[in-house]
Symmetry: C2
Subunit: 374 residues, 2 copies
Amino acid sequence: MIEEPEKIISHMQHAIYLAKKAWGQTHTNPMVGAVIVEGGKVVSEGYHQRSGGKHAEIIALESYKGTPKADTTLFITLEPCSTAGRTGACTNAIITSGIKHVVIGTLDPNPNHSGSGVTLLKSAGISVKVGVLEEVCREMNVIFNHWIVHQKPLCALKIAMTLDGCMAASTGHSKWITGELARNDVMNWRKLFPAIAVSQNTVSADNPQLTSRLNDEVFCSRRFVFNRALRDLENYKNYHLFTDDFKLETIVVHGTEASRDKVEALEAMGIQAWEISESEGKLDMSEFLKLCAKKEIPGVFIEPGAKLATHMISNGLVDYMYIYQSPKFLMDQKGHSLGVERFSELMDESVRLINLKRIYFGEDTLITGNLQNF
Amino acid sequence: MIEEPEKIISHMQHAIYLAKKAWGQTHTNPMVGAVIVEGGKVVSEGYHQRSGGKHAEIIALESYKGTPKADTTLFITLEPCSTAGRTGACTNAIITSGIKHVVIGTLDPNPNHSGSGVTLLKSAGISVKVGVLEEVCREMNVIFNHWIVHQKPLCALKIAMTLDGCMAASTGHSKWITGELARNDVMNWRKLFPAIAVSQNTVSADNPQLTSRLNDEVFCSRRFVFNRALRDLENYKNYHLFTDDFKLETIVVHGTEASRDKVEALEAMGIQAWEISESEGKLDMSEFLKLCAKKEIPGVFIEPGAKLATHMISNGLVDYMYIYQSPKFLMDQKGHSLGVERFSELMDESVRLINLKRIYFGEDTLITGNLQNF
């Protein structure tokens, strides 16, 4: 058994590093990393590469060539599964391996299974330590953790705003609110999420790529464009989203009341489309999220304007927020900020962020947290 | 000479603790603490208690009864003065004392004197170390540092706001944006500043006391109320500011166009008043600040509504901000936020906070910084 806390942490850090090699590539499964340590050294390791692929601990066990010694320890970022899925229960494989010590980052987030793997291992006479770098191990699977419990996508909003809450000046000008470091960080989340979404307003104004450009790699998740009435189709030939190498990843989400002509025009362009209900002149975003669930999309990273953000938060559809805040005051009476078409009488009507985390990018701050709805 | 960094820091921390015993009570002078250490022990100490009183290092030197040994060291939070003021130059007293080692928290902020004290001490063969807990030593005298350079009061705004920049709902409701811990922290700044100011709107709506209530002590700085046209005088008999034990500390600031009847009514109530110019239907706040300078008030802590805050920031009159931010979204289209009557076309027109500091109160954050004006 490894006793020194700093060594336990160091090996778990390595397992986390391995897990994150598959950053955003394991949906609808979690990222998981595993290492086997013997005589103070890592003698085997593995990580889950994609849904349907082998689990991290199985890869580590299979590439482990020795016979477990008294101190041989398996580190896993997530509690091993206790029910045989596509790949067989990992707890059985661990028990069979003869390894007598297991260190687990965080428990299975599924309340039906949480702790079962630990119980099975302990029943087999294995010493189990749970909760090492627990918050990190849990947080990296923020999408999976939500999906496995709710069977609905984690709906996350990304917003950049000034200290006084402005997302753009009254003219729409918003380049830039935050500095380059903060803007680059968005690339990480675009890669983490299986789907990115923006409104047609954003496409028309900024012609974004919505790809994740990290180091020399360009990655593209599924891209949704909310375009209820199919406006601005005549310019689609000029937009990255419909013309670049990843154009097949782009799906236009339009309303049932969009004209047939336009729907046909979109089809003629070979662009994928989803049709969803409308209510009060707006797309029914809850139907959009249900459709994502049906298509097994476990998370959507929305980069909304003030109007869409207000609508979604007000309707209790948002689970998680990424707020990039710059220490500036725009002080524009007509600046775009949350609250479009929404009125509150009391401070108590506000929505709260919980499980706050803060990351600093120079003078800018990324504030993340779950939205505690009304 | 004391070599161990942790001991140097520990003694400077004690000097800072001493300095802060006079928190807010030394204007227009800085807070300063001093300790004399010999054989690893504090053998004498002192702090500056009030303007006109003895300087910290003089008190420490006077109560030092021994003869300096080879290791005897004087710690001072601020560079000793090199010019004889009301109390004689401290550098001379140090040199005469025979102490051969001096550790200084931060240099004199006055560019005309900065470093002179150090030079004089060094010329006398004293070893001098500068810059221990420098930021803390400098920050605690944020008011003095500004005053001594500009001979104008440090104009600070205190604002509580939600993440989306709301200071109140459209109805004016603002109780409470932040939690109790953050609200209590304001008491510290009310005690630090020699003057507090609010608009008549705030008095009419909230009937605040504007005192600093810390532990069992109630402290009251000078209190300013901005009431251009002398509205609401009929209710003055109901407001704390004009009736409590500290009513003589309250000064109403009104405009030159206030009616003579009202000015006389105010006089009849025995309330102090300042009359300042008006321009475009507003009090000329720069004249107010000049008048503060003339009266040797080195700092004003304004607790403004959105309108006053916007006006002052837009006019480049604000030096420092205390932003208490809660992780909430009010999302009120007509919520009170900065930007009243101000329009911006470009994000570049925003005003930036620099020298940022953050202090956490539960989930709330106090963000302080200097305002980098346009």
